[in-house]
């Protein structure tokens, strides 16, 4: 996707990243305000522990500060870049944990994270972000269930495609194709 298809928000994000690359702390503060909510939500969804998620988020923002100069707009939007950075830091943390423990808490996830009073979404959060999130959830929930399931296991649970194939009893190629089709549909429907 080139410059001509970038949204105003994406262009503003790139400008902020460029300023951060030059050491601008006020741009960094603004980017933190814009992205910390979604990135923290992602970290919490994957780690299921608010203290761990906060540490991961701190690592991510320090990485953004250190690596802003290496951001390449040809490879992804700023938002996707920071999401994938976050996911990578979270996966490092998950790997450091006992894998069996991680699998044991999968089924008790959402109750736990939603009950954490310190992290419940504040009323001051922007309506825009909530609208966008609601739209993504709607599109995701309306994907064919087998595609949504494969994507969620890969993205949030960080199961390998081999593990997903074993868990769902499907051939490896089928799982790869479901992930690919689901991601493309998600992208196409969000662009409308």
């Amino acid at each position: 996707m080139g410059e001509e298809t970038a949204t105003a928000q994406q262009i503003a994000d790139r400008e902020m990243i460029a300023r951060i690359g030059r050491g601008d702390q006020s741009a960094f503060s603004a980017l933190y305000d814009r992205l910390s909510g979604p990135l923290y939500s992602l970290a919490l969804r994957m780690l299921r522990d608010s203290a761990d998620a906060q540490e991961a988020l701190q690592d991510v923002f320090l990485q953004i500060w250190a690596r802003a100069g290496t951001y390449d707009p040809e490879q992804s939007s700023v938002f996707s870049w920071t999401v994938l950075l976050t996911r990578s830091r979270v996966i490092d943390r998950l790997r450091a944990r006992d894998r069996r423990l991680r699998l044991a808490v999968v089924s008790t996830d959402d109750k736990e994270s939603r009950a954490d009073a310190s992290t419940i979404e504040s009323a001051a959060d922007t309506a825009d972000r909530n609208d966008e999130a609601a739209r993504v959830r709607f599109v995701l929930n309306n994907l064919p269930s087998e595609q949504r399931e494969a994507i969620e296991l890969a993205f949030f649970e960080h199961l390998t495609h081999q593990e997903i194939a074993a868990q769902l009893g499907q051939p490896l190629g089928t799982i790869k194709a479901r992930i690919r089709r689901g991601l493309l549909k998600l992208r196409q429907r969000l662009r409308i």
């Binding site: 702390q25 503060s29 933190y32 909510g37 919490l44 992804s76 972000r129 991601l183 992208r187």
Partner: protein, 238 residues
């Protein structure tokens, strides 16, 4: 035109699900194909959107204060450097001049060494050989070992395999060279292991390889296929 197989591989690559050998092979293909790079960018942005589907939470305000303190500390050394720069503006020029002289000496020495190395390479076949170690991916047995010795100038190589059971009837193992100048892997022929799970043979890719980035072995229909269809069992870079 991006094949469905490449599209599938791109999706799992974006989610970080490929092992390092597979990711290396995919990145080689990515470097050579602008359409594939655009496709990967689309998938990355889709993956970014996925994060918004997580239940929304806000981090505590104290976290921002901690992060801002940390970056203020990291930013300080550059401030002191800029003060020194003002006071000692001549120093970088002096260092640069010294480096230019030093680089000139190094360049002469490098030229001499390169000539010697070229002479040695021209006469010693071992010096022209690149070694690849291929790592197994399920369902290949974890203790199977595959090594490839590749001689670009001769466009041929030797592969050695141990601890790999014969495939089921109707199937064959097939070797592929992942080349920087080719969109698809180049077939290097079918490989048959003996009853002890061992194979050692010389091979030659069906097409000329310019710069082999990786070798891979897939499980294919008996007799082999012109274009890879089956799952990758082994892959590795030099």
């Amino acid at each position: 035109m991006i094949s469905e197989e490449q599209q599938d591989q791109a999706a799992v690559y974006v989610l970080g699900l490929l092992d390092s050998a597979e990711a290396g092979a995919f990145e080689s293909a990515l470097a050579a194909d602008p359409a594939l790079r655009d496709f990967v960018r689309e998938l990355r942005d889709a993956a970014g959107d996925l994060a918004l589907s997580a239940p929304a939470h806000t981090p505590p305000a104290s976290l921002k204060q901690r992060v801002m303190r940390e970056i203020a500390i990291k930013a300080k050394p550059s401030a002191s450097v800029s003060i020194q720069r003002t006071a000692l503006t001549w120093l970088p020029w002096a260092i640069a001049a010294g480096l230019i002289v030093f680089c000139g000496v190094l360049a002469l020495d490098r030229f001499r060494l390169q000539r010697e190395l070229t002479d040695v390479r021209a006469t010693d076949p071992l010096m022209q050989t690149i070694f690849f170690t291929l790592s197994p991916s399920p369902p290949a047995p974890a203790d199977a070992k595959v090594t490839v010795a590749w001689q670009p100038s001769r466009q041929s190589g030797v592969i050695r395999i141990t601890n790999l059971p014969a495939p089921q009837p109707g199937r064959d193992y097939q070797l592929w060279a992942v080349d920087a100048a080719h969109k698809d892997p180049i077939s290097a022929g079918v490989i048959r292991v003996d009853e002890n799970g061992v194979a050692q043979l010389r091979f030659r890719p069906v097409d000329r390889a310019q710069q082999v980035k990786a070798f891979a072995i897939s499980l294919e229909r008996e007799g082999g296929v012109p274009k890879k269809e089956g799952p990758i069992l082994f892959a590795g870079t030099a």
